[in-house]
């Protein structure tokens, strides 16, 4: 079988230079400079044309002379600056941002805040480009992250941030944080020429390895251009720039991106015979070699050893991306497998009813041969859902349920069916109490429940009994109530004060039970004769006395539950 994998760097680059935004952004920057020849009063300028809004950031004089170091998010927090805290995730709590960029950002905070509010409003009707060159681009990048948080990307089109020759703004952790938002990376386009020293401005010996790029880079050279998202290639390319344009080190001499873009635009339409390659047979390798030729890294057709390593690393990067893509598309299939697993479990549930007990009590006793199979299903389902929930939880939380509706309901079914098994195991241990609020409840059950609550608000009353208990902790409540009954029945060791408390708690439980029965929120199998719930009721009845009357007591005494369906 022929292996056909490619890399799209040349196509993306061609797409960028033949589309409008990059040219529009550059002319907005030029215009911004004309308005402010001395780069004095405002940091940025907003222009609006029909349904396009461009905000262009200028580069204040001397901003490149600022500190090259990185400042950590915890240091910023200590300094009472928390606007970027939202980027932090469970697995990536701390990240670092370039000090010069953050300084410029904070110095103009009020103005930027006003612009952000304005853009959030404008983005409902207009497309938005955020742009800047050099340090202006660094601030534009931070501003865009800030803006993205305020936008509802389901309702507005993604904004586009385009920087020209901007130094890198953050470290590997910041990069990871941004990547957690699946679509955000596609909002950043950084144009960098190998003849412009500013993009690698902060990449000195001191900071080597600390900075990491994110977003798409349009890497340009005199022989062409290619896009890349591969951080190693981008860094490599910026470092190579270092040696190639040593004579052009003065950062105040600005590289003319306008002219370079025009050249590339024309080049895109011309036949380039020089880029034909002789030897490559593998399409991925050939894709990468043509890209390296275009960005001027590879001059001759025969790559040397170092270059071969570079190509190997790039191939690895592309292959990893493809594996991730395949993994994403395979997840629905896995969910279907889990549904089948849950369906297999349903028979166990039914089987238990023949023994006049619910599956909760049957599982707790562990004396049925099918219990072994059930443990197996439980383990598979558990692993799947624990992983899924953890993965989702590690993403930064925005509004709405983090799982899609379909997944949320599948997760809910799992929780309602399987958590009782876990509760059964929990209460088998002697002395076990207070499952739900005692800190023992597994995290993924808690989250699945919270996400469901967020999803359904103001649901109408059910008209038919549930097929599994809506409250997946129902049995834990029953167990706790039985423990209370036992304590009360043991008489002597309990003080009078404790007795009152216990009775109050039992009354609370009684009310809870009545509420779930009245709402059809429990499964009829709780009323099976040999089940824990009926055991509780008998004990409770002994405590409150047979003349006790309440909605639940009347319901139970009149055996109305036989009609509960």
């Amino acid at each position: 079988m022929t292996h056909n994998q490619f890399s799209s760097g040349l196509e993306s680059a061609n797409l960028v230079v033949t589309s409008d935004p990059v040219h529009q952004a550059w002319s907005a920057i030029e215009k911004q400079k004309q308005i402010n020849p001395n780069a004095e009063p405002t940091l940025c300028n907003v222009t609006q044309e029909s349904n396009l809004t461009i905000i262009a950031f200028g580069t204040p004089l001397g901003s490149l002379l600022e500190e090259e170091g990185l400042v950590s998010s915890s240091a910023l927090k200590a300094d009472n600056f928390t606007d970027f805290e939202f980027l932090g995730t469970k697995s990536n709590k701390s990240f670092s941002i370039n000090q010069a960029a953050i300084k410029l950002f904070r110095a103009n905070y009020d103005e930027l805040n006003r612009k952000k509010t304005k853009l959030i409003e404008l983005s409902k009707t207009s497309l938005v480009i955020i742009t800047g060159r050099s340090m202006g681009g660094s601030v534009a990048t931070l501003f865009t992250l800030w803006l993205l948080k305020g936008l509802d990307l389901l309702k507005t089109k993604r904004p586009l941030c385009i920087t020209f020759g901007s130094p890198l703004v953050g470290d590997e952790h910041l990069r990871q944080c941004v990547l957690q938002f699946t679509t955000w990376k596609s909002c950043f386009l950084h144009v960098a020429s190998n003849q412009d020293p500013t993009p690698k401005h902060f990449l000195t010996r001191n900071t080597s390895g600390a900075y990491k790029p994110f977003g798409t880079f349009l890497l340009c050279s005199s022989s062409g251009c290619a896009c890349s998202e591969d951080p190693d290639l981008i860094l490599e390319q910026l470092v190579t720039t270092n040696s190639q344009s040593a004579q052009n080190q003065d950062p105040n001499i600005e590289f003319r991106y306008g002219q370079a873009l025009e050249d590339l635009k024309h080049k895109a339409l011309c036949k380039s015979s020089s880029q034909s390659i002789e030897r490559e047979r593998d399409p991925l390798q050939a894709s990468i070699v043509t890209q390296l030729l275009a960005i001027g890294v590879l001059a001759q057709q025969q790559p040397d050893t170092e270059m071969k390593n570079q190509i190997r690393r790039m191939k690895k990067h592309e292959t990893e991306l493809l594996i991730q893509k395949k993994k994403n598309s395979g997840s629905d299939k896995k969910l279907n497998k889990m549904k089948t697993c849950l369906a297999l479990f349903e028979w166990y549930k039914k089987e238990s009813n023949f023994l006049n007990t619910g599956y909760y009590d049957m599982y707790k006793k562990q004396c049925n041969p099918s219990d072994i199979n059930v443990s197996e299903y439980k383990k598979r389902l558990w692993n799947f859902w624990e992983d899924t929930v953890t993965e989702v939880e590690n993403k930064p939380q925005m509004e709405g349920s983090p799982l899609g509706v379909r997944w949320l309901w599948a997760g809910t079914n799992y929780r309602r069916m399987i958590e009782p098994l876990h509760i059964a195991e929990f209460y088998k241990k002697s002395g076990a109490r207070n499952y739900k609020n005692g800190g023992k409840r597994p995290k993924h059950f808690i989250l699945l429940e919270q996400w469901l609550e967020k999803e359904i608000k103001g649901k109408a009353k059910r008209q038919m009994s549930a097929t599994s208990n809506e409250d997946s902790c129902f049995w834990a409540h029953v167990e706790d109530a039985i423990i209370l009954c036992n304590l009360l029945n043991n008489g002597e060791s309990v003080t009078d004060v404790e007795k009152v408390t216990y009775k109050e708690e039992l009354k609370k439980f009684e009310d809870y039970v009545w509420d779930v029965i009245d709402n059809y929120a429990v499964c009829p199998d709780i009323f099976l004769e040999k089940g824990s719930f009926m055991r509780w009721w008998k004990q409770y009845k002994g405590i409150v006395g047979s003349s006790y009357s309440s909605q639940l007591a009347d319901y139970m005494n009149s055996r109305s539950y036989l009609k509960y369906t």
């Binding site: 022929t2 994998q5 799209s8 596609s186 011309c270 036949k271 380039s272 880029q275 629905d332 297999l344």
Partner: protein, 601 residues
């Protein structure tokens, strides 16, 4: 790559191609004529479409590329019922001005009459045209093919165009392949002819230049201003072509889900038009290159028109459009190169005729990626075919389950009750099947299966069988768990795509209106009406009547089981309620009596 004479491969002789070309070129400026029928040949009837040469006859309406949905008018909705994707229900987009011109053609008194008499004459019909005439010929051919009832009738019709602009989007290409009509369309394009690329640019960017160019064409080669506008015109059209080709190739080549491309295309919209049918590129060096992969054709439309030294060629890019006769005369004698197995095309040039059109590595990789996509689609289909055995096994289990319950309560209600172990086993089979079908639907959603898939009888049959057998179980499950109370009615909130799609396939095949094949989901309506009837007793009369009539029809046709009428079925509960409400229909009554008698005797 393969070579040989053209006639055999594409089913039309060189003579007829030449004649099409001569006729197309001679009638192109007879604008008012709309079309002309030529009966002079003993081998075929030619229907020649004349060109239109005003900007507003190329771009009309207020869309950036002059596009419109093909069902935007009543007549066109009826004229082109197949021009959509079936499961996804995406409707084709076509050029509005060309559609309008075809409307004029088809509504004229003569056209239908002449086509009919050509069909009666038993000679093959060739729809042909140069430039915009070619675009109208495409629509006319689709219209013709839509009206032929069987493959035997469509067999000999051909559409031959010369330098025609693109007329429809990828749905047109998808639908032509699905209906197996692609081979009827043969488009000749000279590599430097700018016209086939024109509609890839937005009207606003080229309007002025286009006016000059079209005037230049009608004045037949004399126009002073051409020199000054030609470079601009070329550059604008080619930039848009390049943008679109890169857009398509990026999708083919990339290894990620999300990319900058999605953001960029919010700002700069690519043209919706895509090639369809078979293309034959004239290399200008006496060779013809044949391609039928539309993604590859799109790439070649860009790469083959790239220039290295500017001015002279740019001028000839405009002129190339006028003269197809000379080049065809020369090339048709030569062998034609058939480009296939693109997925194996080496990145470096290999000395074949394709080198003339795209010699650099980037272009060749794009063509290879186009081939790889097609190959991938084939492999995806193979993967599904590999699961047919499992599907049949599980369906057999469910069929036995249905038969087992047919004398008692009916499998719908047995499944809903879930009292026996076999009910649970049935649920596991249902989920196994659901998994496989969901995978198929997911692929169809992304157009990851061969275009022909939704038109293949074996899949339509399997889909129908699956739908009729399994969907009742999905509905039973839905109402058993009272999911309607959580999310809403099954038909609105719960019906999976795995049933919607196969239903549309069958409706399309039969030529029936949407909803006609609802025999697999009537249980959902039974449940909804029952819920209404037992809660507040109010049931919409029309709804009740319609449901009963449809059930009666389907049971009689044998597409729905008569187990509906079993004593303990949910339908019987509804029937009682309807009796109370005096809404029972006679048709059901008759059937019930008939079946009861049968079971008694």
């Amino acid at each position: 790559m393969d070579s040989g004479t053209l006639g055999k491969k594409i089913g039309i002789s060189e003579e007829l191609i030449k004649k099409s070309c001569t006729l197309s070129l001679s009638y192109r400026f007879y604008n008012e004529l709309l079309f002309h029928v030529d009966n002079s040949s003993s081998d075929a009837v030619f229907i020649v479409f004349t060109g239109s040469w005003m900007v507003k006859e190329w771009f009309s309406g207020d869309q950036a590329f002059g596009e419109t949905r093909i069902d935007s008018k009543d007549w066109s909705k009826k004229a082109f019922p197949s021009m959509r994707s079936i499961g996804n229900d995406d409707v084709a987009i076509v050029n509005q001005a060309f559609l309008k011109r075809f409307e004029l053609v088809s509504k004229g008194s003569e056209f239908v009459e002449k086509v009919t008499s050509a069909v009666d004459g038993k000679k093959p019909i060739i729809f042909t045209g140069h430039s915009s005439g070619g675009a109208v010929a495409v629509l006319a051919t689709i219209w013709f093919l839509e009206r032929q009832s069987s493959e035997a009738n469509t067999g000999t019709a051909k559409c031959v165009t010369f330098g025609a602009p693109l007329v429809g989007d990828y749905i047109v290409s998808h639908a032509l392949k699905r209906e197996k009509w692609s081979k009827h369309f043969i488009h000749f394009v000279k590599r430097y002819d700018i016209v086939p690329r024109i509609l890839l640019a937005p009207r606003s960017s080229i309007q002025q230049e286009l006016e000059h160019v079209l005037r230049y064409y009608t004045a037949n080669g004399h126009h002073d201003q051409l020199e000054s506008i030609a470079p601009d015109f070329y550059e604008k059209v080619m930039r848009s072509t390049s943008f679109l080709a890169s857009h398509a190739a990026e999708k083919l080549k990339r290894n990620t889900d999300y990319s900058l491309l999605e953001t960029i295309t919010n700002f700069t919209k690519p043209s919706p038009y895509r090639p369809s049918g078979t293309y034959i590129f004239c290399t200008g060096t006496g060779k013809l290159v044949h391609l039928d992969n539309p993604e590859a054709v799109l790439q070649l439309l860009f790469f083959s028109c790239q220039v290295s030294h500017k001015n002279e060629i740019i001028r000839s890019c405009i002129n190339a459009h006028l003269d197809y006769a000379t080049e065809l005369e020369r090339s048709l004698e030569e062998n034609v190169v058939y480009v296939d197995r693109l997925e194996k095309l080496p990145p470096a040039s290999d000395g074949s005729a394709l080198d003339d059109l795209a010699q650099n590595a980037r272009g060749r990789l794009c063509l290879r990626a186009a081939g790889a996509l097609e190959k991938q689609k084939q492999e995806n289909q193979q993967q599904i075919i590999g699961k047919k055995a499992t599907m049949e096994k599980e369906m057999k289990v469910l069929e036995e389950y249905r038969t087992f319950n047919a004398q008692k309560v009916g499998y719908y209600d047995a499944f809903k009750k879930q009292n026996e172990e076999r009910d649970f086993a049935a649920n596991v089979s249902r989920l196994e099947l659901a998994g496989i079908w969901d995978e198929i639907i997911e692929m169809l959603k992304g157009y990851c299966l061969p275009d022909e898939f939704e038109g293949e009888d074996s899949w339509i049959e399997l889909g129908t069988k699956f739908r009729r057998l399994v969907e009742p179980l999905d509905i039973a499950n839905y109402y058993r768990h009272a999911k309607n109370e959580d999310s809403g009615a099954y038909m609105i909130k719960g019906r999976p795509r795995r049933y919607r799609y196969p239903q549309r396939w069958l409706e399309k095949k039969k030529g029936w209106e949407s909803g006609a094949c609802g025999e697999s989901c009537f249980w959902a309506e039974v449940e909804e009406l029952l819920k209404l009837a037992s809660n507040d007793g109010e049931v919409n009369e029309t709804r009740a009547k319609e449901l009963q009539e449809r059930i009666a029809k389907w049971v009689e046709q044998g597409v729905a089981g008569k187990d509906v009428f079993l004593e303990d079925s949910t339908f019987l509960k509804l029937w009682e309620e309807l009796g109370r409400l005096k809404l029972q229909q006679e048709s059901i009554h008759t059937l019930m009596t008939k079946f009861t008698k049968l079971s008694v005797s």
